[in-house]
Amino acid sequence: MTNFSLKTEKKDGIFIIRSNGYLDEKGGAILFEALQKALPEGYQKYILDLTESPVINSQGIAQIIEISEIIVDEKSGELAFVGLSELTSGVFKMVGLLQMGEAYPSEADAIAIMSN
């Protein structure tokens, strides 16, 4: 059995989601739920920190694409990905997720750019 959990934090007007564990269909659903809670609060900037989720499967990817579309296309918001492993970075590039959000090595880097 795999465990997935996530933590959220609101910092400088940015909504940060930190995931932990294998991001599969269930993990993706938990992620989606967290985003849906944040949307009514009017956040426009989001950081998805995937440092502790080095493996994301196809269904997890599908959920992240949906989340990205909501943030970027529907809400005209900004999205940043942090801590992408070599594998997830390759996958994100292949499916076009890096066109939806910028990748940063650390949360601090992402916050610095997004806060400007």
Binding site: N3, Y22, V55, N57, S58, A62, L87, G90, M94, G96
Partner: protein, 771 residues
């Protein structure tokens, strides 16, 4: 790489779809003045109006000092102008406040936005995807038949959001669209209501002869449930030769780790050599790392690899012993002998199952002559420490190399080999075979000269042994001989040769096996089935299932059963069960037996599933399939392929030859050419006959693949001169169309499909597609 530099590199791609797609990632890039100037220069060079418009839009956005929202009244005013500024409108539609969106949509409807230019439509459709409603769907539906793939793509995206059900009626035109990106997107949509047929379309794209079609299939593969496409991807990486495509498919395995995939990947890896072996090994290790990182398994990748390799060895040995055990019961004395020899050879490697099987067989063999032959052969196969030792060790030392030919071991190998090198021709057939087996077991690449000589033997057993031997110690040395060996009169030799050929070109080797499987001679079919056993199962599973359907020989049926049971899993069970239900002949009993045995294996395996549940799911799957069949007529793969063929008839390219040409470039033209023209090429009499519906006066245009270095270019005429490495350096003078933003320079690589216009010392040609 610097993102701006990467962006510029992609913008120089000859593929317009790549140039267009990179534009969308421009927004977040930081541009300095020099880079903006470079972008302006690229706009001047861009021939495609759609891309040029989008580039201008990007530049205009960069020129805007602040990002003000466009108001509904501003946009409305712009829309009312007869000669409106399209660039300004596109930019404004990107910066609309949600509260104004409904007013802007009304304005757009009033002016009939669907009649806007092809350049502007993607921007409007992007806006409607975000703010449009069901009311806009009829107009968007119309654009789902637009000739411009960018408009079409944006229309599909918008409709998918606003009225996804409307896409159902559009599936046929989308599936026959010449743009592979649109086709693969259509396949993804089809998966929503007919997954099985969608997977057949996906399979057809994945195994296409055109690289960009395969690229599209792989891109969309992430949107299919992995368990439904895993077997196809395994077959894909097994037969594919392009390293980049294999790596892309590998990402799917690594991102979707599960307990069974490492064993399957290991099987594929073991059927490869050289660079391909390393590639699959990298994927396998990546999957093991993912399993560990995702905490699906506790064992480290290294521990897992060790377990897997042991498990694989056991599985192959079991399959091997089982396969030849079946032939030990053959009525044909020679076949029994050959099977016994194969099992004896395993005794050399101390395989206990082989020892037990051969000993039990010898006890029951009634033909005394055969029994003696096998016993004699077996003696030479027993490892030295298992044979009865002479009381005085010195006596062994005194033995001449010629006397040791029946008992070669690691210690005396070098001595016997030196002797055999000078006397090989004079040795008996049995001794020649013994020597070759010993080289296979103890030899290295520097021993390859002797088996190389044996390839000229008239004796098929010696030949087969030489092939087996060389395939282990120096497979490359076999390459020049493969064309002859593959058409050898002996089935045994052919089987060995195909097995080796598969290491270099599995796709063509499988095609050869498929031909043999349809042979009217049971012995040929038997060798084809044995060949299947040497390949990784996923690459030939479709052939094995096909063989069961047509095979009438009981021994061959048993071999097929053994192959299926060795790779039993749920998916295979459902396929066999479907064949069982469709079978109306006496073969039903065979199917029933395979299903039962397979269900037993699955229900007692590592991830057991209840036997009854397994049958219930199989029945349910068949019922779902029946329901879908009724509505499938319009978009059935074969139907869609027929429509595509009709459309493409104007330019008749020999796709088989095209594929051949690409293969020839990568593995050595002569060998592939001989194999292609000797065995796989369609009958030229058939292909040269004009199609029924062909235009009467129309001259058939044959496309040619040109791949090689650019040796000259004339930028002002947009002409490039290329030496075609696929035709021994024949020179092509090729006119380029607007797909090429700039003419490739001397020394750069070039690869494209072209239409020859005039032959001569130089072939004058026009470009069709760049690869």
């Amino acid at each position: 790489m610097d993102p701006v530099k990467e962006f510029f590199a992609d913008l120089k791609s000859p593929d317009p779809s790549i140039r267009f797609s990179v534009l969308s990632r421009i927004e977040d890039l930081a541009w300095d003045e020099q880079q903006q100037a470079a972008l302006r220069k690229l706009i001047d060079d861009e021939k495609d109006p759609g891309i040029r418009f989008h580039m201008q839009k990007v530049l205009a956005r960069l020129d805007q000092s602040d990002k003000d929202f466009a108001t509904a009244s501003e946009i409305d005013a712009l829309l009312r102008q007869d000669t409106r500024d399209e660039l300004a409108l596109a930019l404004m539609l990107e910066s609309v406040k949600r509260a104004d969106a409904h007013l802007i949509t009304s304005s757009l409807r009033r002016v009939g936005w669907q009649n806007f230019s092809s350049q502007l439509l993607p921007s409007v459709l992007k806006f409607l995807k975000k703010f449009g409603s069901f009311e806009d769907s009829p107009a968007i539906e119309m654009l789902c038949r637009h000739h411009d793939p960018r408009v079409l793509s944006a229309a599909i995206e918008a409709l998918e959001k606003i009225a996804p059900d409307s896409l159902k009626a559009l599936i046929v035109p989308l599936l026959v669209n010449p743009n592979f990106g649109i086709r693969s997107r259509a396949v993804r949509l089809l998966h929503r209501w007919d997954p099985n047929e969608a997977l057949r379309h996906f399979e057809s794209m994945l195994f296409s002869q055109i690289e960009s079609e395969k690229q599209s299939a792989l891109f969309h593969a992430f949107f299919f449930p992995f368990d439904q496409i895993e077997k196809l991807l395994l077959r894909f990486i097994s037969v594919e030769k392009d390293a980049e495509l294999i790596k892309k498919a590998g990402l799917l395995f690594m991102a979707n780790p599960h307990g069974q995939s490492p064993a399957r990947l290991l099987e594929v890896r073991q059927a490869c050599v050289g660079e391909k072996f390393k590639l699959i090994d990298g994927i396998l290790k990546g999957v093991l790392t993912s399993l560990y990182q995702a905490r699906i398994v506790q064992a480290t990748p290294e521990q897992m690899m060790e377990i897997l390799e042991n498990h694989y060895r056991q599985k192959r040995l079991k399959l091997f012993v089982e396969r030849y055990s079946i032939s030990l019961h053959s009525e044909d004395v020679e076949l029994r002998f050959k099977a016994a020899v194969k099992l004896c050879d395993l005794v050399r490697y101390r395989v206990p199952e082989a020892v037990a099987t051969i000993e039990a067989y010898l006890k029951g063999e009634e033909n005394s002559e055969l029994k003696n032959r096998v016993s004699e052969y077996l003696k030479g196969c027993r490892p030295a420490d298992e044979t009865v030792q002479m009381p005085i060790p010195a006596a062994v030392e005194e033995k001449k190399p010629a006397d040791l030919l029946n008992s070669i071991d690691a210690e005396n190998f070098a001595r016997v080999f030196t002797y055999a090198q000078s006397n090989f021709k004079d040795l008996s057939v049995d001794h020649q075979i013994s020597m070759l087996k010993a080289i296979e077991q103890f030899g290295r690449k520097n021993h390859a000269e002797l088996p190389g000589r044996a390839l000229k033997s008239d004796n098929s057993q010696v030949l087969a042994a030489a092939i087996d031997c060389l395939s282990k110690i120096d497979a490359d040395a076999l390459l020049p001989f493969l064309p002859q060996l593959i058409k050898h009169s002996s089935d045994e030799v052919r089987e060995s040769a195909i097995r080796v050929f598969a290491l270099f070109d599995k796709g063509q080797a499988i095609a050869l096996v498929e031909k043999m499987i349809s042979s009217i001679q049971p012995v040929q079919r038997k060798h084809a089935i044995l060949c299947c056993g040497h390949f990784d199962f996923q690459s030939v599973s479709h052939l094995v299932l096909k063989a069961v359907r047509i095979e009438g020989d009981p021994e061959n049926q048993q071999q097929l059963k053994s192959l299926l049971l060795a790779s039993a899993d749920e998916e295979l069970f459902y396929k066999v069960y479907a064949d069982f239900k469709a079978c109306n002949t006496s073969k039903k009993a065979l199917y029933e037996e395979i299903c039962n045995r397979m269900a037993d294996l699955i229900s007692s395996g590592e991830n057991p599933i209840n036997k009854q549940k397994l049958y219930e799911i199989a029945i349910q799957k068949l019922e779902e399939e029946e329901k879908c069949k009724a509505q499938r007529d319009a978009y059935r793969l074969e139907k869609i392929q027929e429509i595509r063929r009709d459309t493409e008839n104007k330019t008749e390219a020999d796709h088989g030859l095209l594929r051949f040409a690409l293969l020839a470039y990568s593995i050595g033209a002569i060998i592939t050419a001989v194999i292609w023209f000797g065995f796989l090429a369609p009958d030229s009499r058939k292909t040269s006959r004009p199609a029924k519906n062909q235009v009467k006066a129309g001259k058939t245009v044959r496309a040619v693949v040109v791949k090689g270095k650019v040796i000259g270019f004339e930028p002002e005429k947009r002409v490039v001169i290329v030496e075609n490495s696929l035709e021994n350096g024949k020179v092509y003078r090729i006119s380029l169309n607007s797909e090429f933003p700039s003419v490739p320079e001397t020394g750069s690589n070039f690869s494209a499909q072209v239409k020859p216009i005039k032959s001569g010392q130089e072939v004058i040609a026009e470009i069709i597609t760049a690869f």
